[in-house]
Amino acid sequence: MSEARANILARLRAARRGAVPDRPDWTPPAYGPDRLARFRAMLEAVHGEVIEVTSATWTERLRTLLAERGVTTAMAAPDLGLDAAWAGRGPEVVAYDRPVEAMKDRLVHDIQAGITRARAGIAETGTLVLWPDAAEPRLLSLLPPLHVALLRLGTLADNLSALMAEQNWAAGLPTNLLLISGPSKTADIEQTLAYGVHGPKELVVLVLTDL
């Protein structure tokens, strides 16, 4: 091991030990029946859009919202079944099925919408939890100017603490876990909000209320 490592650790160990304080109790808020209302209010406050759908209606609602925005090329995992559902009436659906090195140009320049599932939602902060994998890679929710996420209402948690405990995150995290609360934004110029500075300008969440 390196000399720097040994020296740093030796200096830290030589210090007089202080007491290790206990973690005092802290209970983050819960919302009961108002969970979805809280989620919606928080996400809308940061310029996100929340639309309630069902497993029977979501593909059609998605098709119209993409059409309203003039999207002709979207990217989504093939197992979402969009091609079959739309039967040629919707935008072209491209799969992110090759390494980024081969997809970079399309991702950076062509794809107008990225469609992903959310693993869960957090009511307190209006947050989506994304757990990217081979079918829905990391950049799918970042490079296209529009991000549409599917959230099952049953996965909406009160707060981050509760969700982490419930899903036992500490037992194994993915390569990249994302908490997303709204579209990309900046206030670096005179604290004036501007959206879409590097990531999506728009975030739409379809909440599947029957799942």
């Binding site: 740093i8 902060t125 390569t175 501007a194 879409g196 590097h198």
Partner: protein, 473 residues
């Protein structure tokens, strides 16, 4: 250059700068206050966050080893650097071995501490800042003036002029959406062609070997996802012990910093790209930088400094910072946290002016989300700056000592410990004090430049008390 006191008038007499900071600080304070209206909830949350970071400081050596073991098991390479020079050399070496020529950077104060961009440029590697604020000041050739909002000292018109000059095809516009879109266009290509991404770290979780980065723009995610190589640089104190410490810390950081309940993105990285995954860097490296932090850790009182989560609330609420801005401090970390951190990292011999750039009003202590006793540490550092004993903890202790000053205080102490001298002294001052030509006597004239001259009463308090019939009871 001079010291802080010599630099301050320039900022104080710059009405544009004063306006830019006033507007920004007022806005940030108001937004933060809205987030913490429920006192009890704030107290409980803050106690939890402070304990989480205090535990990290108390258990630092073993947590660093745990973090290293977990990161390594996750496939992330860990490097240790005692100095910023070592850290720069490590980063350069990783980049060279990968054959990297261009780097895209997410925001990182540690990289500012390292002056990493200069180092890379000097060795033929172009490093482009991608956070909008950092991009703006990189175009302007300036340093950040705030640790969270680096270009807070600039207004729209100044940024519009800078962009018109530097971004091809963009005329002068003060439309913030247009300016932002122009930066997006200018930087998109840079992201796509960058050979490596460099970022900082907000929390590194020892339990799981996870790097947590918070941001609003998405440039941090791009820097850590799009290029084939990711290097994260962090101070050795930026740890969280367990994953379940994150909820409280993440609830404190953005609310304290910008009054947001959460940032747009919380980016948690635990592995390089694994088999079958389509994107993400194939190699991830972490550089753990000491650069004086282990020395800070050695002192049981001073080590509280290492709890800092870099939210910037202390500077937003500081009556000194909000009037002079970040550049007046001259060092990477301005404001209250800088005033206690910089002298400890750099030594009182070169940053001894910093702890004196304070009114000790305690506003920073009231808002600090991890309860750093900033005012106590300021006082301690002031004492050390004139302590010649050689037993003081901080490098450069005693360097601010002036013989006239110490002689004056010795005289003061003597006068207050010998009753006869005290009576003589106060009697003399009450009769003759108003005749002292203070405006012409150097130490007093300096003091009086910004204060009105006190007028001595014709009789001392003791004399008045005795006249009223009080004895020595």
């Amino acid at each position: 250059m001079g010291d802080f006191t010599a630099r301050a008038p320039k900022a104080l007499n710059d009405p544009t700068l004063r306006r830019n900071f006033r507007r920004a600080m007022d806005g940030l304070m108001a937004k933060r206050a809205l987030q913490f209206q429920d006192r009890d909830a704030w107290d409980a949350l803050r106690a939890r966050g402070a304990a989480a970071k205090a535990r990290v400081v108390a258990r630092l050596p073993e947590l660093l080893e745990q973090l290293e073991a977990r990161l390594t098991a996750n496939g992330i390479r860990v490097h240790w650097a005692e100095t910023t020079a070592q850290a720069n050399a490590i980063v350069l070496d990783i980049l060279r071995q990968a054959g990297a020529r261009t780097v895209i950077k997410g925001k990182s104060m540690v990289s500012e501490e390292m002056e990493l961009n200069h180092h890379l440029e000097a060795h033929g590697i172009a490093a482009i800042e991608s956070d909008l604020g950092e991009y703006i000041i990189q175009l302007a050739g300036e340093a950040p003036s705030h640790i969270v909002m680096p270009c807070i000292h600039k207004n729209k018109a100044e940024i519009a002029a800078l962009f018109a000059e530097n971004i091809e095809g963009l005329g002068y516009t003060e439309d913030v959406d247009e300016l932002t879109a122009a930066a997006r266009r200018a930087l998109r290509g840079r992201f796509a062609e960058a050979d490596a991404g460099i970022s900082g770290v907000n929390f590194a979780v020892a339990e799981t070997g996870t790097l947590v980065l918070v941001e609003n723009e998405g440039n941090g995610r791009l820097s850590t996802t799009l290029p084939p190589l990711h290097i994260a640089v962090m101070g050795i104190e930026k740890l969280a012990e367990r994953l379940d410490d994150l909820p409280a810390l993440l609830a404190l950081l953005p609310r304290s910093a910008t009054g947001q309940p959460i940032t747009t993105y919380v980016n948690m990285i635990s592995h390089p790209r694994r088999d079958g995954e389509r994107d993400g860097p194939k190699a991830v490296h972490v550089v753990l930088l000491d650069s004086g932090r282990s020395r800070v850790h050695a002192d049981p009182e001073l080590r509280d400094t290492l709890r800092c989560i870099r939210c910037g609330a202390c500077m937003n609420h500081c009556p000194v910072y909000s009037r002079v801005g970040g550049h007046t401090y001259k060092f990477v970390y301005p404001g209250p946290i800088g005033k206690i951190l910089t002298p400890q990292l750099e030594g009182l011999d070169c940053a001894g002016d910093q702890p004196h750039a304070s009114t000790l009003c305690n506003a920073c202590v009231e808002v600090c989300p991890v309860r750093i006793p900033i005012a106590d540490i300021l006082v301690r550092l002031r004492a050390e700056s004139i302590d010649p004993s050689g037993s003081a903890a901080v490098k450069g202790a005693g360097s601010m000592r002036k013989s006239l000053e110490s002689l004056t205080w010795k005289g003061w102490a003597l006068m207050h410990s010998v009753p006869l001298l005290h009576r003589l002294g106060t009697w003399a001052l009450s009769r003759l004090g108003n005749l002292i030509p203070a405006a012409a006597l150097p130490p007093l004239s300096t003091w009086m430049r910004v204060r009105s001259r006190p007028v001595f009463a014709p009789k001392t308090l003791h004399e008045l008390a005795r006249e009223k019939g009080y004895g020595n009871e």
